[in-house]
């Protein structure tokens, strides 16, 4: 991995961690964490911000405080440092489905303009070009969490007009779909990428660029998006990661 990629990844991870810190400060600390980039960002937020987010993993861990980054969602470290460990049927039924999660934090292979995520197949389901691992916990996290944050590297291949397969729902085909389907959770609120931040348009629910990272241009974002991406009326620039944020992230990744 080149230094540039490491740096753009760091900007993305730090911005996602900040959002979790803001949510925790606003009384929404409980985060259902997917493995990979979400877990890195959630653990960074836990080290940087007070109050810290409460990390919930689908392996049944509630309030994990790992000292090192877990490789999988079921590393021993997550259970040993948890406030409680419950069974898998319980974590999904009592904790996620019942509405006790403030923010579900997901990644994916493809994301479309309405925040739907594909982690199942590239190509047709019956004859896939690429068979991906599958939906796992994401369908119900996307449906039931109070809000959803997505973290993904932005590219034309990954940010598509329409997902090849809808593994988990954002806003479906647009405004009103979540209500029509009776979904209780709030859906995708923030998509944090290596280029900036996208949020659903308040009226159309289409993902719209609301912030750019320092030195990123609109042209770069347009070129890395598979739909005719729109920009909000007021696009802000994110604050560059601080030395403290970067050194904490490096220490976390060094393990």
């Amino acid at each position: 991995m080149s230094t540039d990629v490491m740096t753009t990844d760091a900007v993305m991870i730090v911005n996602a961690a900040r959002k979790l810190g803001e949510l925790a400060a606003a009384g929404k600390p409980v985060c259902f964490v997917g493995i990979g980039l979400p877990s890195t960002a959630a653990n960074l937020a836990r080290r940087l911000y007070t109050p810290p987010p409460v990390l919930v993993y689908e392996s049944g861990c509630i309030g994990s405080k790992p000292q090192r980054l877990p490789l999988s969602i079921g590393d021993g470290e997550l259970a040993e440092t948890a406030d409680a460990v419950v069974s898998v049927p319980e974590i999904f039924a009592y904790w996620l489905q019942a509405g006790r999660i403030d923010v579900g934090f997901l990644g994916g292979a493809q994301l479309d303009k309405f925040g739907n995520i594909n982690s199942t197949v590239i190509g047709a389901y019956a004859e896939p070009r690429t068979r991906l691992p599958g939906a796992g916990g994401a369908p119900e996290i996307a449906a039931s969490a109070g809000a959803v944050m997505v973290i993904m590297r932005q590219s034309k291949r990954a940010f598509v007009e329409r997902c090849d397969f809808r593994s988990s729902i954002g806003f479906g085909d647009g405004a009103g779909d979540r209500e029509r389907l009776g979904l209780r959770g709030g859906g995708v609120r923030w998509v944090i990428t290596d280029l900036g931040v996208l949020e659903p348009d308040p009226v159309s629910c289409e993902l719209t660029v609301t912030a750019l990272h320092p030195d990123v241009t609109r042209e770069q974002v347009t070129a890395a998006t598979g739909w005719a991406v729109r920009f909000a009326d007021h696009v802000t620039t994110t604050v560059a990661p601080t030395d403290d944020e970067l050194s904490t992230l490096r220490a976390l990744q060094a393990f």
Binding site: G76, A79, Y125, P133, G134
Partner: protein
């Protein structure tokens, strides 16, 4: 009452060609040794069930034991894809694999229904996804009390469920703690069950968050130290993350996979010999 058996005898007696077999474990306590024994004994046409089929299911699929897979997430956790699973789905090697795909919440609900003796379980699930279009075991129902639309999924009742646990006593009472996953439900839902354990002890001491499966709900208990490797058993061993990373390269190519299985699984008599062969001291 559970019988204390050697693993090869338990597999020979309890796992049959064509069976629906659930080998559960959510990262923790995955029954790898039992999976290897199924490969050694050449079982065929299995319908494997598991929420998170990972390396051991990749091995069973690549070794040609499996016709059908029911699952919700088939990957190598933290590493990437399962290469043998992908090759079976994308190219039909070593033969086509029929898949029945769910979400984690749906699979957990199915096991819980199976354990509870119900024909189906109910959840708020799958709504707005494409899963129901391709999986005919996901149906919409109406709540008879509120009229709400909910999702029904049929109970899972495997012919045999296999799990790994920390310990059992000489009567065959099994104790599990840490990440307990869906193992209790898988055993209670099954017709037969095999539990491999790290250790057989005189008496089971109470341990925080531990669950006990009484001897009378388990068919066979087998003492297999490190029987979950490269997965782990809290209190006994750590996850061998390096093996999971190495598996990606071993499994990428059909020849290197076949060679690995021939040498390490088919070429060894039991788990202890296997562990020595792959260079892990017991």
């Amino acid at each position: 009452m559970a019988e204390l058996l050697a693993l090869d005898e338990a597999v020979a007696r309890l796992v049959r060609d064509g069976d629906t077999v659930a080998m559960e474990g959510f990262t923790h306590l995955i029954p790898h040794a039992a999976g290897h024994e199924i490969i050694r004994q050449g079982r065929r046409h299995l319908h494997l069930v598991r929420m998170t089929p990972d390396v051991v299911y990749d091995q069973l699929i690549g070794a040609g034991c499996v016709d059908r897979l029911t699952f919700s997430w088939g990957g190598n956790p933290g590493v990437g894809s399962l290469q043998r699973f992908r090759d079976a789905v994308e190219n039909g090697w070593p033969h086509p694999l029929q898949i029945e795909e769910h979400s984690h919440a749906g699979m957990a609900t199915r096991y819980a229904a199976g354990a509870a003796g119900l024909p189906f379980g109910v959840l708020r699930g799958y709504v707005g996804t494409d899963l129901a279009e391709h999986t005919n075991t996901i149906r919409q129902i109406e709540c008879p009390f509120t009229g709400e639309r909910l999702t029904a999924v049929p109970a899972l009742n495997p012919d045999v469920s296999i799990i790994h646990a920390q310990r059992a006593d000489r009567e065959g009472n099994v104790q599990i703690w840490g990440l307990v996953g869906v193992q209790k439900e898988a055993v209670l839902a099954a017709t037969r069950s095999i539990v491999t354990v790290e250790q057989i002890v005189a008496t089971i001491d109470p341990t925080p968050n531990s669950i006990v499966l009484p001897s009378w709900v388990v068919t066979a208990v087998c003492e297999v130290p490190r029987g979950a490797h490269p997965s782990f058993a809290m209190g006994y061993s750590s996850r061998d993350n390096a093996f999971y990373r190495d598996w990606d390269a071993i499994s990428k190519d059909r020849d290197s996979f076949t060679k690995w299985i021939d040498e390490n699984v088919l070429g060894t008599r039991d788990h202890a010999e296997y562990m020595t062969k792959i260079g892990i001291a017991n």
